[in-house]
Amino acid sequence: MTSLTTLPSGRAAIPVPRRAPRAVWSRVLDVWAMTRRNLVHISREPTQLSDVTIQPVLFTVLFIFIFGGGIPIPDGGNYKDFVLAGLLSLNLVTSTMGTAVGLSTDLNEGMIDRFRTLPVWRAAVLVGRSIADLMTAMLCALIVAVTGLVVGWRPEAGVLPVIGGFFLVLFFAYSLSWIAACVGLNSKSPESAASFGFIVLFPLAFVSNTMIPTQHMPGWLQAVANWNPVSAVTAGARHLWGNPNPSGAIHAWPMQHPVEAALIWSVLILALAAPLASQIFKRRTTE
């Protein structure tokens, strides 16, 4: 055998058996193939989809008819109109758990090894997953909106601001799904990834202005809630939809500028979590 520094006697010419890569387009196709794979998964296990289909309908109906009458809105206003943006945030924030569980499952199966022996853009596994999850989040948003309209929610704004409100919440959920990705990639098992939902996501969604005006909370909790990104996102959507937004009377900066605050939070989270997720993914798949 030759030593490490000597070139071997026979050196195979490099055959080019496949199309030469067109870098960017090839990456787009990789991501799209991965996205479709995840969408097929959802269609195979519709129970996974209940988080974004049955849960939003249930929550909407429960909150509006059971709690609705008992929760006064400062400066008047209808609880239905108040709570819908909160329900949208609540459902989308908790549904990011799916990203954590999905990625953890992927890592625990041999499929990742197959991907790693193919000429695939490494991040396509992550990006494809996040896009599939964004698509289910959009479905969830549609279901919340339709259920809301059926039970009497009415936005008081033009078409563009209403769409802007949905965009604001979806963008935040997308950013948050990258934190979920970090958690999923760090988890030992899909089960431990799922517990992330209950430990982190539920407090995040509830210690905020989503379900009740923060004015009723104890002082310290009120401060936390006012600076919770979920509050900014929810207040931003209420503001854009022309729905009752009691947080507008609060002097914390994010409550005074909810749309700006929501966008800043989303961009910040995305800018930190996405590179971090790809780092963790790289570490987990290197041996």
């Binding site: 026979g10 090894d113 041996e287």
Partner: protein, 340 residues
Amino acid sequence: MADGELMIEAEGLVKRYGETLALDGVDFSVPVGTILGLLGPNGAGKTTAVRILTTLARPDAGRGTVAGIDVVAHPAEVRRHIGVAAQDATLDGLLTGRQNLVLVGELSDMGRSASRARATELLALFDLSDAADRVLKGYSGGMRRRLDLAASLMARPPVLFLDEPTTGLDPTSRQAVWDAIRELLRDGVTVLLTTQYLDEADTLANQIVVIDHGRVIADGTPQELKEASRSAHLEVTLPAAHAEAVSALAPLVTGRIHVSDDGRHLSAAVDSSPGFATSVVRALDEAGVLVDNIEVRQPSLDDVFFSLTGGHIAEDDAEIDGTAGAGTGSNPSELQGAHT
């Protein structure tokens, strides 16, 4: 191994997993269009070598190239030239067989319509057409293996890594896989095959490398390995016991001559040199011994392997317990608990 371009080269590969030394300086090479059988018991380091050469693991020392491309420096480029059928099922259980193949094709930049056409072709080749649109969860182990092999062939790679491709297959499926591999060799594909089945290596491989405890302990063609082991066995049957028979054979054999109770059957270990049987007949004839039957049994690759490794290949799963070698009744040896 000097003629022909080398499609796969491993030079001094070393790989540690924690305390375990999975590979301890392994060298081998595979000329274009040939098949190398990497043979060894569980935990010997076969899969680790494959993982390094397929860019899944990085060596701690040494160098690997595929199609002349360094696997550590240019993994992405290497991936354009290889197909891998790994030991663990590496397919998506929630997708159908066809969807799995099309996904692999698309991720190999084949394009959607070309991927579909190739998937249909391979599903037919591996007798999976009927199950093509069923979800993989419902596949049997043998069907999964065949689909895994099909997946590795999607992009028609010039270099194939098959890690125990027929483990757990029924004889018919096994034959089908062998036929497929022979077909590929005719097309000029280069194959690195790891296997625990000696007959598989004997039938398919041009060259065999035997590794144990992370080191190469033997290499050569199947024939060379058998000859090198010199463990041929002579059996002579006489019409009647003869006093001169033992003394006539003594100069020709290496070990003690065993004589049966009736004195008609003599057997001994011998060196298998060309024309050996002729010498036996001549020696017995000169001594006036009549012979009914004479047999020189060439060693099987199993004999070779057992003599090289201390006979622990029959082990099914290294992780189960420490009873390595129980199946062959000799020399229970330690197995490395690392990646098998």
